[in-house]
Symmetry: C2
Subunit: 259 residues, 2 copies
Amino acid sequence: MEKIESVQNARLKQWLKLENKKGRQQQQAYLLDGWHLVKEALRAGIKLKVLLLTADFRYTAEFTALTDPAIETIQISTAVAKHLSGTATPQGIFAIAELPSESLAIPTQVHGAWLLLDSVQDPGNIGTMVRTADAAGFSGVVFGQQTADLFQPKVVRAMQGSQFHIHLFKGDLTEWITKFKQQQITVWGTEVSPQAKNYRSIKPQSDLALIMGNEGNGINQQLLSLTDQNLYIPILGQAESLNVAVAAGILMFYLFQAD
Amino acid sequence: MEKIESVQNARLKQWLKLENKKGRQQQQAYLLDGWHLVKEALRAGIKLKVLLLTADFRYTAEFTALTDPAIETIQISTAVAKHLSGTATPQGIFAIAELPSESLAIPTQVHGAWLLLDSVQDPGNIGTMVRTADAAGFSGVVFGQQTADLFQPKVVRAMQGSQFHIHLFKGDLTEWITKFKQQQITVWGTEVSPQAKNYRSIKPQSDLALIMGNEGNGINQQLLSLTDQNLYIPILGQAESLNVAVAAGILMFYLFQAD
């Protein structure tokens, strides 16, 4: 097995560039850090370009069953692992995965529940919302054009592999809203306003689109005017607002009910 | 007004030590970064030891109305502000606040809804849960002895000032559970297990205690055996689990209903 022990190694330097959008675009790849993410990628049949393991990585039956021996596998030193990882104590397994195509066209038919993100900025919030949408049984997440890059390390860490389970699209939210309306799917905005409706007054549905907005400024006014109805979560205490990922979780688990 | 322009300033060096638990304990103080947190502290009547402002901080009527001229106020340079702040673009206002007493005794009477945290590790999750408990109208949050320090910068940022709105206790969760039981308040655990109950089958209550556990390992088995009932959130998609702060948000907003 090839070994990389120096943090000066040329290939390692290329992989470190995957931390930045430019590097990910040029190499059409992104980094998976830890067994959970690598496992989810393998289970989903995602093409891994390279697998990186430290000498003390423990091979399990599950690892052997899932891993194609044809994947290039490189042993790395602990120093190299620490260099690559965003965490203080890396698990000693990484993979370089192919970057999925970003600009998917709107499907002809959309159904089920969809989460639309308008200008959400914090990578942890974005990743957590993708994970929660997956857990809530949503069909997909659509990222408006101002939303932060989806394959940056902090988003990938927070998604916990959910990018392999549900459809992720990048696109113009106005066009997506038009599509949902054409198919008689209710579009819910979220807004702190007297015109908005308490989410608890809504009956759960099996087809819906829910829009969440920017941490500080909420959803763009023009998009809010296109929704069927805007919702709010009543605050019973003295907090001014909820974290956007928590609010999205409360709404997704409340609003969606599978057929 | 006194000015601090050098990052070598001796007082600044003391304040930088507030990033660590030892520094906070020795100085019995912690740092508030940004107008929102300073405002919440002032509104709550919290004693501020020092107020730090950059030259371009814009004095508003609200600032003037809330700020006691007797508070020591120091002008700091932009370089000093960047040094102090955990954010890339600090707002140019900080305060050094008194550290609240940590080990409060269990009140004689407890009522309302309470969140208990057992060994939660991530500071962002801890802070977000305090903020959400505040928003959901909970009476207090109890931190088990293994939970990370409450006044570290990342927790403070995520709490968004909710530490000034609801009661925060550090204590032995077993003793707290005993107290709730003595007062006939239902204690709900959270667990991924066939013995656990779907949270949606529970009727909302005006008095309750909800325990959330460690991100990887959940709640300690001994505590789980002391609850009245353990709950789970059904996962409809392929995600293995929910982020603990999102799960806490879903449960708090579902379970608690004010009288």
